[in-house]
Amino acid sequence: MKRVITITVINQSGVLNRVTGLLMKRQFNIESITVGHSEQPGMSKMTFIVHVEDERKIEQLVKQLQKQIDVIKVNDITEKAIVMRELALVKVVSPPHARSEINSIVEPFRATVIDSGKNVVTYQVTGAPEKIEAFIDLVKPYGIKELARTGATAFTREIQKVNSPQLSILK
């Protein structure tokens, strides 16, 4: 199953290596990882999505992460109401005659054109990872020349509704 983990770490050199090294050593499979500054100076926040077999494995992961001296806080937010966003840049083969067709089918995704050339257009699309997947599937038949994804970043919503795991789709 997929789990969404966020951790707060002291922002010093080697901390990313420490966290990813730990995941590798304990044989956890990382799907994506994002890192950046947080609201507290000197602290960074990481979000990663991992595949685990069962509850015990995820408990181990959280405990092992917590043991790291540079890690301040670890949260498994999979079951919580959360906001999660990822950004993707997709360079699609788009000859002039097909361009308006492509533009119209990607419109519901609110993708924006951020660069274009003679035969290609680069879209920027933002959303939950599954939305990005859907977008990619949709433009794939036209030919994707280049694709880059940032990985998901997330935190919990301000209001937590009881019993409403948003990410049941991820399980």
Binding site: V9, I10, S13, G14, N17, R18, G21, L22, K25, R56, E59, Q60, K63, Q64, Q66, K67, Q68, I69, D70, V71, I72
Partner: protein, 586 residues
């Protein structure tokens, strides 16, 4: 004057010389700050080896000495530091140079990590300006040691050094202990360090707050579970020793009348001849201890990590038991064995809290009766031989001669298991062995460290002929410092445990496990100006052991033992604990 006294005096004199040299108001460079920092931490001895990148540090040590043990290989230095840490409870301090100096420490650091030994390891590093350029003797020590340390640091700015030293000692010696590496670039060691404020910087570790006090509700639950148990069992691990909870354990065992077994590393947590002690559990544990685990209804694990060599096949581990697990490391609880009552705490505090519950002792009359019968039916055993010395006999002799009071260190393998089975320990912190990592070459240098920590104890390194040759160069230390360590080589001309497995599981195909050609160990001892003994005949053994072990000098004993002897009983790999082979039954 005896050698013991001489060693102690030398150390004392050096310590006195270095006293009163505080230079509080003079500008200090990084190296001087480091030495001062070590003194402030109460470091009484350093195990190390100099080299290019640590020249400034060794220069500072020359000017402001702390007793230093110059091992002949960095691996020897770090295993000695581990032995020192294990018997003294204080962090072992190691210094090595960059590159090969640091990489030679890797085995010892990993060993300390696996067995939760507190070490603070300082490695030199090339100058900051050339880090990352594949400079001479550069190695990525932080990268290499990241997965094998509790924490590591590279000092980027000399101003951080005083704080980092404090943090390193704090991290190494609190919570679940472990090794901390501090990598010091050469320029940092020579930079002038000025401000008083920086020197007084305090530990800042917002992400590190080990839990030591147990949760009251969990303690209540544990007391309740024990109260109503019919077949309770205590599994005491090294956590009892690290937390110095031996008294509390004894009280719990005796007042509640609960049988107790040890892990390999937990040996000594309860006296080996205690009437409620069932012997060691696990792959080469006693039949009684393993059956007790398989049949108990409440298993109280105190500071053991349910290692695979202890549990055997997890499917059939303690199938009827409610599991109570006391551990200072929350990540160990539930890692291998699902736990019913988790208690995250220091072992001493947890046991105190448990004893404060003042619950009624469970009725264990019948359970003890059953276990006593098992002990009589299936004791430890070995075949006798008319001519050759059996390794088990040799250890029993050593035990008899030293009356169970010696500090015993071992490597890994057959001799380790025999020592665990037959050297019944009277005292805690007298057992130094490489458990988790299973490091050959550990026992001899560890004995040197143990002897330095406890100059008045008798320290015996029981090693195999294979392992001894991995760190035999440290004989130089016995020669130089006249440290009265007794090295007993149980010499079977083979890598015994490998050979035993090849005999049992590979149809006696002894691939690379027999070593018929070996040095003359007695001459080797003599080359280092040490007294060497050889035991070849059964009838001479006791007398030679007595003379050698009771001397005040360092000695080496090459004890030739039967090659094809196996360690029994045994849980075959993949089998459950109740499924032992080589059990003697009357």
């Amino acid at each position: 004057m005896s050698a013991e006294v001489q060693t102690k005096q030398a150390v004392m004199e050096m310590a006195l010389e270095s006293k009163d040299k505080k230079q509080n108001n003079q500008p200090m460079d990084g190296s001087a700050v480091l030495i001062q920092g070590l003194k402030d931490q109460g470091v009484e001895v350093i195990f190390g080896y100099p080299g290019g990148a640590v020249l400034p540090i060794y220069d500072a040590l020359y000017k402001d000495p702390i007793p230093h043990v110059l091992a002949r290989h960095e691996q020897g230095a770090i295993h000695a530091a581990e032995g020192y840490a294990r018997v003294s409870g204080k962090p072992g301090v190691v210094i090595a140079t960059s590159g090969p100096g640091a990489t030679n420490l890797v085995t010892g650091i990993t060993d300390a990590m696996m067995d939760s030994l507190p070490l603070v390891v300082f490695t030199g590093q090339v100058a900051s300006t050339v880090i990352g350029t594949d400079a001479f003797q550069e190695a990525d020590v932080i990268g290499i040691t990241q997965p094998i340390t509790k924490h590591n640091y590279q000092v980027q700015d000399v101003a951080d050094l005083p704080r980092i030293i404090k943090e390193a000692f704090h991290i190494a010696s609190t919570g679940r202990r472990g090794p901390v590496v501090v990598d010091i670039p050469k320029n940092v060691a020579t930079e002038i360090f000025v401000t008083e404020e920086e020197r007084n910087a305090e530990v800042y570790l917002p992400g590190y707050q080990p839990t030591t006090t147990p949760n009251y509700l969990q303690i209540q639950k544990a007391a309740e579970a024990i109260r109503f148990a019919r077949k309770p069992l205590i599994l005491a691990g090294a956590g009892v020793l690290h937390g110095q909870a031996m008294e509390e354990l004894k009280t719990l065992v005796e007042t509640k009348r609960i049988p107790v077994t040890n892990t390999l590393l937990g040996l000594g947590g309860i006296a080996g001849d205690h009437e409620y002690f069932l012997g060691m559990a696990g792959m080469h544990g006693t039949y009684t201890a393993n059956m007790a685990i398989s049949e108990c209804d409440v298993l109280i694990n105190i500071g053991a990590r349910f290692d695979d060599r202890l549990t055997g096949n997890l499917e059939s581990f303690a199938p009827h038991a409610k599991i109570i697990h006391i551990d200072i490391d929350p990540a160990e609880i539930g890692k291998n064995v699902p736990t019913d009552i988790p208690i995250v705490a220091d072992s001493k505090e947890a046991l105190k809290a448990l004893l404060n519950q003042e619950f009624q002792a469970p009725d264990t009359e019948e359970w003890f009766g059953y276990l006593k019968d098992l002990q009589e039916e299936a004791p430890l055993w070995y075949n006798t031989d008319e001519h050759e010395v059996l390794p088990q006999e040799a250890i029993q002799m050593i035990h008899r001669i030293t009356e169970g009071d010696a500090i015993v260190t071992t490597d890994v393998g057959q001799h380790q298991m025999w020592a665990a089975q037959y050297y019944s320990l009277n005292n805690p912190d007298h057992w130094v062995t490489s458990g988790g990592l299973g490091t050959m070459g550990f026992g001899f240098p560890a004995a040197i460290g143990a002897q330095i920590a406890k100059p008045n104890e008798r320290v015996i390194a029981i090693v195999g002929d294979g392992g001894f040759q991995m760190t035999a160069q440290e004989l130089s230390l016995l020669q130089e410092m006249r440290i009265p360590v007794k090295v007993v080589i149980l010499n079977n001309g083979a890598l015994g445990m490998v050979r035993q497995w090849q005999e049992t599981f590979y149809d006696e195909r002894y691939s690379q496990s027999l070593i018929p050609v070996q040095p003359d160990f007695v001459k080797l001892a003599e080359a280092y100006d040490l007294k060497g003994y050889r035991i070849t005949k059964k009838e001479d053994a006791e007398q030679i052991f007595r003379e050698a072990l009771l001397s005040d000098e360092p000695v080496l004993i090459d004890c030739r033992v039967k090659m094809l002897e196996n360690v029994y009983p045994m849980v075959a790999p993949g089998k459950g604990l109740q499924d032992m082979i080589g059990v003697k039954s009357k």
